[in-house]
Symmetry: C2
Subunit: 562 residues, 2 copies
């Protein structure tokens, strides 16, 4: 392995680890190619076993009043945890710091842990083949309206789309190619979801109209093909008209009204100019800074929560997704959603709308399928967006917690409808972690094209393969689940939105008591099952005994009769 | 009844009622001396049956564009609910408004509903005699250290104290009388709670030192008697030194250090000058205004929550109560708590400290006993503090939601330790309501003296008599209760404090889904009980059957043997 050059010091004794909710422990620090390990050789002491890829930022803290030679390394992790390692000598301090820093910033994808991870269990279902469009959309494909297209097989039409696409049957591949040239990044209008009432949810990127009123008949044909004559549809642009003008000057724009007469356009204010308003990541960093500030007063806490704007982002997404869901469900009208690139707020809106409308998305398998369809196969650039997290100083371009915003929206829906989800919100936290650092290859690369180039499905294990193992997935099942076939319409009033404290405050508020509430519920439900099976067994025993008794009595009577 | 003069219109048809989470209903409005009734004569429609005393503010709303003759009356209630009555004609509108307004503002206590309410059930235990100091402190009184004093039998020593007092055995009544003249309102140091380790919690009002260093040997003797020689105690003054200077100029002050050498003084910042900072009531009004503003944005919501300072008040009380509890429990040192009058923040601190330390206070009976000891018998002026609520414009002097702040603190503890309380937080909401408007006499008057003058225990029913009926109290039992004999140390970090949305947002957020979560838990626990008793019964049946079978087999064998 080539890591050896990075690891100047593979082992160091006398290191003290400080981690949240735990007494400091001291032991031997081992640095391997992919893990930091703190081993104590004591029983009943929880040791540290940290994937180095989980480290977002690493800081030095030289204690001014401490021993001359010692110092501390602060590790700020992508699961929001902050760890501190006290290193006994100054020489070791520097080498440990440098080793960890180099390993945490590996540039070469092929050195990442998923390529080295070997599962110690049999894979029952390969997560990489579990959610193919052919099977996911099999019901639609059996109808007369939709077909599979392989026009993007080598990713030449649209690099961020999947190789297998579901398109209207009446649209040929040449029309798709022509429409792709009219949309940013080739993201022509593509099926996202079809309601039982026939209304269709589509998504794409912005049209490249510039300031002209350029039209594209292929694009119009695709959109009109899903409406049918005389029907109305809605184009929901996630940007404000002002922002669209800004994009027009850069070649983008919006559908010219005259050429889309059947479509009503609605502008929402989801996307903002980063320069003016700060990015979602900056807002999220502010939130986490406030969460981690333990010296904060109540007033300051609320005002910093406010100025982080995080809950406003959550509210905006939920509000736009509700609007989309209402158009589809109540108006029975088809909807096209896009912003500029179609890679972020567009996917947020189409995926959250599906959780609201489609009860399947609220099951364990449906959630995975939704993430596959609307995020992975839809080309959300996970590698770029998740290259670093909120602690990192040298923020790389394109980082955004868009996907976390999606998980937070599901958390809000879950909070308001605690029975309608097959899973607990703990599964969302696990997915969040694995989307940032993982043993698995699922969230690597920016799109299907890059994942194929890396041959991930051959060289790494799928996260879904791990998650769907019976002994893993049962830990995330909601004991209170009651399948609910209807749409769930959330309240989006500010007073109804909750800070996701289970996640953002997970290392601040000790979850001991909250957790045991859930454990208690689990215990009760388990005991309920046990008792019920016991009752059934005893009832059977009783019947058997009564029969035996009867036959004995009959024998007796017979004998008496004799 | 003399109400007849107030009720100019006892009945009116065609009134439409708008209430939260309900479709408008129309029916006949009946105004009785104590109730507003809206009767629909339809099945399955929830009718209104509102105690007029529950109305905090009444407003007229003349619709500009509606029929010339119609108008609406807005009733803002002390349970935070807002109701609207649409009145069909303008003449009736004015008379209905005037009738309700007069009835809602009855000056004469003897006309209030508790004097007219007749319970339709047998009273098993009279709540008025349930919590006598003789029985509440029976364990202490059996020791050699404490005795009952009747020095205040006619309330001449301290008008706001109870007639029966528990005092140190070594202190005679004359010493108490002398100490009373040294403290505001005669509130000399009195026992609040004694820990198992011997440390004692006392409370009183400020000493009347003015700017001099006046001393009172009787006061010093009382305090030193509970310390014993060489032991240290803490005086926790709920005011800042600056505020104490303000009170000195008005005759009040703080214990002169030289005369209390065994006592360490700690100043907290619980009390504020109303002129500079606004009163707790004003802050609470701001909070409720924000809660009721349904057009609010997320940013505005958080900033208005912040500027209400409500959670800061909650945090301050919890923090001071924790300090007191720590002195008692960890330092094993006795503590004296006071502010100025000893009627508000003093009681907040001593009562919340007891909930933290004393597991008894977390039971249904213990909560009632605590409210009796530390609020009712301790002379918290409920009638003055609760004469109006946050909606009322013409605020009368002395109104403050101090007791609500106490209930909110228990709610915070309950949230952090959901298993340690025998009751659910719903009981706190019921107590809150009855402390403001009630069928019962328990929360009437400002102190024991006034309650005796009104002969409440003879002429009204006790709230505790109602609450402790088996079919009532069972609704408020916490199915997850697990008696916890230890102190519960809450986190008082701002991120750990929760807005009490079950109460403050009760008419804003529809509790449909949250409620069913609790119902489900209840169901599960009920089924668990059922199943377990079924298993026991079946096990018995099985044993009986097996015995019968055995005896039959023996008979058979016997017969065979024959």
């Amino acid at each position: 392995m080539e890591f050896i050059e990075f690891i100047t010091i593979p082992k160091l004794d006398g290191v003290i680890l400080h981690s949240p909710f735990q007494e400091p422990i001291d032991g031997t620090l081992c640095i391997t190619g992919h893990h930091l390990i703190l081993s104590t050789r004591k029983e009943n002491v929880q040791e540290l076993w940290l994937l180095i890829q989980a480290i977002d930022a690493i800081e030095k803290k030289q204690q001014p009043n401490a021993q001359q030679n010692s110092g501390s390394i602060i590790l700020k992790c992508k699961d929001l945890r902050q760890l501190q390692l006290d290193i006994p000598s100054s020489y070791d301090f520097q080498t440990v710091y440098t080793s960890i820093e180099r390993l945490a910033n590996l540039e070469r994808q092929e050195l990442l842990y998923p390529f080295f991870y070997r599962p110690m269990y049999n894979i029952l279902e390969d997560g990489y083949t579990l959610f193919r469009p052919e099977t996911e959309y099999s019901k639609l494909l059996a109808s007369d309206e939709w077909r599979i297209s392989y026009v993007n097989q080598n990713f030449s039409v649209c690099r961020s789309y999947n190789s297998v696409l579901v398109v209207p049957k009446c649209i040929d591949d040449n029309t798709l190619i022509a429409a792709a040239s009219f949309r940013e990044g080739g993201r022509f209008p593509l099926l996202s979801y079809r309601c039982d009432n026939g209304a269709v949810l589509m998504r794409c990127s912005q049209p490249l109209t510039s300031n002209s009123n350029k039209r594209c008949r292929s694009d119009e044909r695709i959109l009109n093909s899903i409406l049918g004559p005389y029907k109305k549809g809605y184009i929901i642009d996630t940007r404000s008209p002002g922002l669209i003008n800004h994009y027009k000057s850069k070649g983008g724009g919006t559908e010219p009204d005259g050429h889309y007469p059947q479509w009503n356009k609605i502008f929402k204010n989801l996307d903002k100019l980063v320069k003016c308003d700060g990015s979602v990541l900056e807002h999220f960093s502010k939130l986490i800074d406030a969460c981690n500030d333990t010296s904060i007063t109540t007033e300051k806490w609320l005002s910093r929560l406010e100025s982080s704007h995080w809950l406003t982002h959550v509210q905006n997404v939920l509000s736009t997704a509700c609007l989309v869901a209402q158009c589809l469900d109540k108006d029975e009208a088809s909807v096209l959603v896009h912003g500029s690139s179609g890679l972020d707020s567009t996917l947020l809106v189409t995926s959250v709308a599906q959780v609201i409308l489609n009860p399947d998305c609220r099951t364990v398998r449906g959630l995975q399928a939704l993430i596959e369809r609307e995020w992975l196969q839809a080309g959300h650039p996970f590698q770029t967006r998740h290259s670093n997290f909120c602690y990192s100083n040298g923020k790389t371009k394109g980082q955004q917690p868009t996907f976390l915003l999606f998980l937070d929206c599901i958390h809000q829906l879950h909070y308001q409808f605690p029975y309608s989800f097959e899973f607990t919100t703990q599964i969302l936290i696990l997915i969040f972690e694995n989307s940032y650092f993982s043993n698995f290859g699922t969230f690597m690369g920016n799109n299907e094209c890059e994942r194929q180039e890396m041959k991930l499905s051959k060289t790494t294990t799928s996260f879904w393969s791990y998650l769907n193992r019976p002994d893993v997935i049962t830990k995330f099942l909601n004991p209170m689940y009651e399948p609910n076939k209807t749409a769930i319409w959330p309240s989006i009033a500010p007073v109804s939105l909750q800070l996701w404290s289970d996640l953002y405050l997970r290392w601040i508020i000790n979850p001991k008591y909250q957790k045991s509430a859930k454990e208690k519920m689990h215990q009760l439900i388990e005991r309920d099952k046990d008792l019920r099976s016991k009752v059934i067994k005893m009832r059977k025993q009783l019947i058997d005994l009564q029969k035996e008794l009867q036959s004995l009595s009959v024998e007796n009577e017979d004998e008496l009769d004799d």
